[in-house]
Amino acid sequence: MCGKDVTSGQEPPSTMSFVEYNDFIQDGDVAIVYLGHDSLMPVKVQQGAQTQTRFGAIRHSTDLIGQRYGSKVTCSKGGWVQVLHPTPELWTVCLPHRTQILYTTDIATITMMLELKPGSVVCESGTGSGSLSHAILRTIAPTGHLHTVEFHQQRAEKVAEEFKEHRVDHLVTVRNQDVCKDGFGVSGVADAVFLDIPSPWEAVRHAKAALKRHAPRSAAAARASDPTSGARPCERVFVHQDLDVRLADEAESLSGVSVTTGTCSMSGQVRRSLESQSRAELSVNSQEPEDSVQLLCCESHSSLSRSAGESALGSSRPPAVIAVEIGLETRGRGPVGGRLCSFSPCIEQVQKTCQALADQGFEEISPLEVLLRVHDVRNIYLPLPDFGPDSGPDSCAPTEPDSKQQAQNHASVTLKTTTPPREIPGHTGYLTFATKPRT
């Protein structure tokens, strides 16, 4: 991680990822080919492969592998391109669109206003094409985690695949479920929640459940007074991470199965994964059923799932394991509430969302709009009109064709200035931010 701190010159060979720079292009990397202004394409680097561009073919083995990121590559037709290290921002402008995507201007605002930083735990829905997801992952690495929920099965599978290719899969859990019905699959753990769905107001209560929560006063007090009682009403369940996506089918067939303790109200997806997992260890030692059972994705997973992720890189497909902790209370891990953002193109959606947020006790509800204004730098020529000869009263003589010629040729001013593009995106969506207060 900090390998570059010391300028030793001899660095251990590392690999490119969307959360860590590397200097040289290697087999298996995803590189971004810069063809010209606003014209970029992602390339999966593979020994022996070729990529066609409008400047000719790029041969991966000779033109890419071993080259430095940022270097110029001459294509077969003699034209050249630059090969760039991937970043979430470059990915945003060249990723394959499966949905409408969020662009960098909104993403930057979201990242700051959600107060994301390394270590943040974030819930997101829908995943869509993963434009925002990559930016979130970059910011919360190396110790944070993203729980992203996408109700479209193929999209969920595809984006999970991309996370793997971009070597960020250890930081993210993709769930294929409907956030409005089933929530985020985690509870009481998130520092921030992001919603980009058609009816965000239906997901607000799930967002609230996902955000960090303080242990109920009574429970916290009880624990404090009697630390030896040890009967922390929670248990651990291990679930295959890659089940999250695959389970979508199984889950359907398994629907309607009742689970474990009668008072449990678990998120559908996890319940199903528990049911279908013969290996799942479930031992309920709950004493008294409180309001509802909290499922929390054990956030000490930063070490746990990271190591799982690392091992996943090594061999073919070892089951990445995450720990799911079920307890009757969330341990006093996050007494601070958290931030929420909802993105909606229509003001009617915003109105309903704001109402739902206020009803759920969110504060600082602040809808805003942010737009990028590009200024194209240009040289401009401003001709000066000919006012005719300007001299004393004696030179009223008619203009000679000679001087007229001169005026045409030379009477102009050159300026360096900027012009706005003829058309710009005038609306992307409203960003509604809110804070879930400490409760």
Binding site: K4, K72, G144, E299, G334, P335, V370, D376, R378, R438
Partner: protein, 468 residues
Amino acid sequence: MADNGDDDAQYRIKEGDYVVLKRGDIFKALQIQPRKKVIFEKQWFFLDKAVGHLYSTKFEILSGGNLQPKKPKEEESPADAKEAGTDNRHILDDGTSQKLTRDDIETLKEQGLKGQEIVQQLIENSSTFRDKTEYAQEKYIKKKKKKYENTVTILKPSCRSLAMMYHGREPGKICHLRYDTLAQMLTLGNIHAGSKVLVFETCAGLVLGSVMERMGGYGSVIQMYPGGGPVRAGVESFGFPAHFHDTLHDFPICHVNALLAGNLDTAAKDPCADEKQSNTVEGQNQPEAEPRGNPEEQSMETNAGDDTADQEKKEREKLKEAKVQGKRVKLEEKRKKLAAAASLLEGRNADGLIIASRFHPCPVLMVLLKFLSPSRPFVVYSQYKEPLIECYTKLKEQGGTVSLRLADTWLRHYQVLPNRTHPLLLMSGGGGYILSGTTVAADRAKPASSQRADEPAPKRLKVTDTEG
């Protein structure tokens, strides 16, 4: 980080913590010090009673300036007035609708009435309240509540709250950098944990602190500073844990030329720091030294005094020696730090560059770009557009960069209420400009041969003589 589940100490307010006070959208950053009177929004109070409570707690200011956590139930709106008018045709603005005078209100305050109760009093004594529409009543209550509210929320500092605070209170100190513009810079600069980032700023440390927050204590940040020493009061306000500061290095911009030329001698006394150092040394010694001129010289000659005086002198000498020794150690440390920063820069393999200053950005950018690896982003902020046009032009001529873009952002906040949704009446007129781009390997083969110019060749307008 977020991992220590059971340890909620990190969420509790401690003495010495840097915190942000918040009321409405007003922020103030400060450090919690015992029995320190704090003035915020025309009210004074002490933060002592907040210690031990959880961050994000809303406190009520009691008489005597003590804080008490506010119970969430007290939030309910005061008026359950069902009566409301339909429009404002009967409302006259003659200044007589409120029967309470300023003095009355002051008396109520002195009696220890809470903000809520004062607002209730105001409503009861307003002759027009009942005639106002439901919406106008709500607005009235909101306005009065804001005026007489006596609560304050204590937050953990963050890039968001500090950027909004500086923008709202002291925009001049941060070159009028608006918070959303700062957000663009951090994202376009791909600031993330584990990278090596150069920062040149004169924004009170806000930009530097924001970069450090995004790096989370992983990797390294090198502050390139102009003048005598790095300015970073804003970094303090973030209240970073100690290990974050281990990742922060600084390097005086006045040594950059020497570093680039390869003749920076970190062992020798450096000219600009040295000058300053010697100045301060002299300055500090002056009061003692004044009557006797050079103290060292003097000490050699004044041995012949009487014993007590001698003793005193010896003591004084010792002290001085210790001081000098201390200075030497500090100088040595400084030199070591400089050498460390220099070695970080020497590889010319930094991963990012952020510039946001009151200096002309062009020369700064041209010099600092040399320290970046190829295929790395850079972002330059300026309050004005023209200097960035110059940067753009120069970079186009020089090559070595792609994806150049000059832009600014437009930001508008909204009021969203049932049947009353509209943009806020005021918006920021501008938040500064940003030039961003990506470095590429220097082109040795064909210098300045632009195969594809981003900018279409300027067309010279033909001045056609339409008027015969």
